[in-house]
């Protein structure tokens, strides 16, 4: 039982990180109807910008840790803003009114461009990232189970950060002027435009917000695994999360991420050995496909997807 819980909690905490990536997808999909394949590349770029600035500020300029960290986050945020601006200006604006699948392929092109650019500018090695989060493994619930359950403090912090981020986003969407405009655009482009909401500006803002979410995801994943190219493959893991949670739902992204994370780890540990191991790579997809047969719009998706 303790082992089961340990696997479950480990999976849930990994799922939190999937959710963070999926969240960026949902934001952009809601506001501009674009399925942004480049989200993973944005996570990689943000993390690379952060870790390189942090390294240089600390080692070459001898700044104190706090200041260097702030500079790193600020620089990464600027990079994300540039990407958001370029994406809106050079890609989205030119492809207005195209089919979703054309936009999807354009974001695949953007993925390759951003990955290449980020690795040319910031380097392509594995960089350890330390943003001050504790990394000690700890035992919890020792009074309930013999020996307790082993979890990593970093994962718990990741969950806390994700929670704060979602709360912050919810506040931003519900309580601010821009948030209201974003929701209006998500609801109906044409109607929003007709009441005077500038679409291009809104798209920039939403890409920027998605970029900042990518920055948080990159910072957390980076401190867990080190900043490396595999971060950009997270985009592929976020796809099943979205199918499960629904493309338009923020809570769906969170719950979907948790289900995929937990399901994946449980399947790997308890079913995997009988099938030769390594089923983690496809389990999420098969789960999502099975789910698609039962409930095509996802757990919290708003509308029935177009049936063929």
């Amino acid at each position: 039982m303790a082992f089961f819980l340990e696997v479950l909690i480990g999976g849930l905490l990994a799922g939190v990180l999937y959710s963070l990536v999926a969240l960026g997808f949902v934001l952009i999909f809601k506001a501009s109807g674009v399925f942004n394949f480049a989200q993973g590349a944005m996570v990689l770029t943000a993390a690379l910008a952060l870790v390189r600035t942090l390294d240089i500020a600390q080692k070459e300029w001898h700044w104190p840790f706090g200041l260097a960290l702030a500079a790193g986050f600020a620089f990464a945020a600027v990079v994300m803003a540039v990407i958001a601006w370029a994406a809106e200006r050079m890609v989205l604006r030119k492809l207005v009114n195209q089919e979703g699948i054309i936009l999807f392929m354009a974001t695949i092109g953007m993925t390759f461009f951003i990955e290449g650019l980020a690795q040319t500018l910031f380097g392509a090695d594995v960089y350890p990232l330390n943003i001050g989060l504790p990394k000690e493994p700890v035992f919890i619930l020792e009074s309930v189970f013999d020996g307790g359950i082993l979890v990593n403090e970093l994962d718990i912090w990741a969950a806390v950060i994700a929670g704060l981020l979602v709360a912050g986003l919810a506040l931003f969407f519900q309580r601010t002027r821009i948030g209201r405009a974003l929701r209006a655009v998500a609801d109906d482009h044409a109607a929003a435009q007709s009441v005077g909401i500038p679409l291009n500006q809104i798209w920039f803002i939403v890409w920027l917000v998605a970029g900042l979410v990518a920055l948080v995801a990159g910072a957390v994943w980076g401190s867990k695994l080190g900043v490396q190219f595999s971060l950009s493959l997270l985009a592929l893991k976020a796809l099943p999360v979205l199918i499960l949670g629904g493309f338009t739902s923020v809570p769906g992204a969170i719950i979907g991420g948790l289900i995929i994370g937990a399901g994946e780890k449980l399947a790997e540990v308890f079913v995997g050995p009988s099938m030769g191991g390594g089923i983690e790579i496809w389990f999420a997809y098969v789960l999502a496909l099975l789910f698609l047969l039962v409930r095509p719009q996802g757990l919290f998706g708003e509308r029935i997807i177009e049936r063929v």
């Binding site: 699948i101 092109g109 461009f113 199918i243 095509p296």
Partner: protein, 358 residues
């Protein structure tokens, strides 16, 4: 002046429906084939075969396969690498378990196995489309990666996980030289490419295009979506599977599942988009472009960097490559969604009027 169709009357339906209705086109195609079969083997070096010609020929076939699905039937697939893998491993298993079969027969049969698998993974397309289908085909990709790595039966229990192709020979001739490899791949690509061209011109291809352009309207005029989509998946997977078998047997010789990873799928998708969605010629142009560009960059970038005093490593070259591919994809989607094939037909239009444009 030379490219005039004036005076070429079509006196029968057959002449009107011909695959190359203009006499000059026929001459060019025959001349190209003659050069490819009769001149190239005598002039090119082994390096050119291995680095350029064989990959271009085999990947053209795979790109034609993907174009059937994506360009003609409008079904997005991110799993073409998986179907190449199915073709390759099916051909391998056939050659191991039925050693009396000729390796090329195995490759063809491997294509049929891939077609079967393709139909199975095409079934979801009856219910879903767009991103959802892309996700389903991605599932095929990851599942194939896993299956060929972990299920030992597929690799005939080789301890290293890497498998070897049988010796290539037919009718008592040894076909393992680069020239023979090239000619064999070319025969496969030309015959199957011609078949694909004829299929997309025929009633099946028209059904695919109807489904692509508007599925509901197609259904109303009597196109059966299930039949049209599944035939597209079958034909596409067959072509991709044969290309996978050729890639494994003829080009690689011994291979691991990593040869057919998701990068291969993306590479094929780039070929189709850059070459031109919905064009057989475009698939070939796209394949040639995608194979040649990295070679060109590897040759050109380091000296270019040296001019400015930069030292450009191979890693940087590969990052540049990825940037250029990405930028080109976006560029072509925005400026010319019909890709290189469209540029070619624009050139032909211009040539028709040249040198008197009015």
């Amino acid at each position: 002046m030379f490219y005039r169709e004036a005076g070429q009357y079509k006196a029968s339906y057959q002449a009107d429906q011909a695959i190359f209705p203009i006499a000059q086109d026929r001459i060019v195609v025959v001349a190209l084939l003659a050069v490819a079969f009769l001149v190239v083997p005598f002039v090119v070096s082994e390096y050119t075969y291995r680095a350029v010609l064989i990959p271009v020929v085999i990947l053209s076939l795979a790109a034609i396969g993907l174009n059937v699905l994506m360009g003609y039937c409008g079904q997005v697939s991110l799993g073409s690498g998986a179907f190449m893998a199915v073709g390759a491993y099916a051909a391998f298993n056939l050659s191991v378990r039925l050693p009396f079969l000729n390796p090329f027969v195995c490759i063809l049969l491997g294509g049929f196995v891939a077609a079967g698998v393709g139909i199975a993974f095409g079934v979801p397309s009856l219910r879903i489309k767009g991103f959802y289908l892309a996700c389903a085909t991605l599932a095929a990709q990851f599942f194939a990666d896993w299956a060929f790595l972990r299920i030992k039966w597929f690799t005939n229990y080789t301890p290293s996980g890497s498998v070897n192709a049988p010796p290539l020979q037919a009718f008592g001739y040894d076909l393992s030289s680069p020239t023979a490899n090239y000619l064999v791949s070319l025969v496969f690509a030309v015959v199957l490419g011609l078949a694909a061209k004829n299929i997309v011109r025929g009633h099946v291809g028209r059904q695919w295009m109807a489904i692509r352009d508007m599925d509901i309207a197609a259904e109303i005029i009597g196109v059966r979506p299930m039949y049209a989509k599944l035939t597209a998946f079958a034909v596409s997977s067959f072509l991709i599977g044969v290309a996978g078998g050729l890639w494994a047997f003829v080009y690689l010789g011994s291979w691991e599942p990593a040869a057919f990873s998701i990068d291969r799928s993306f590479q094929l998708m780039f070929m189709v988009i850059i070459g031109g969605l919905g064009s057989i010629l475009g698939s070939v142009l796209g394949a040639a472009f995608i194979v040649l560009l990295p070679i060109f960059l590897n040759q050109a970038l380091p000296p270019l960097g040296a001019l400015f005093g930069w030292k450009i490593s191979t890693a940087t070259v590969s990052h540049f490559e990825s940037m250029i591919f990405g930028a080109l994809i976006v560029f072509f989607l925005i400026v010319e969604p019909h890709g290189l094939a469209r540029l070619w037909s624009v050139a032909k239009e211009k040539l028709r009027l040249w040198p008197f444009p009015h």
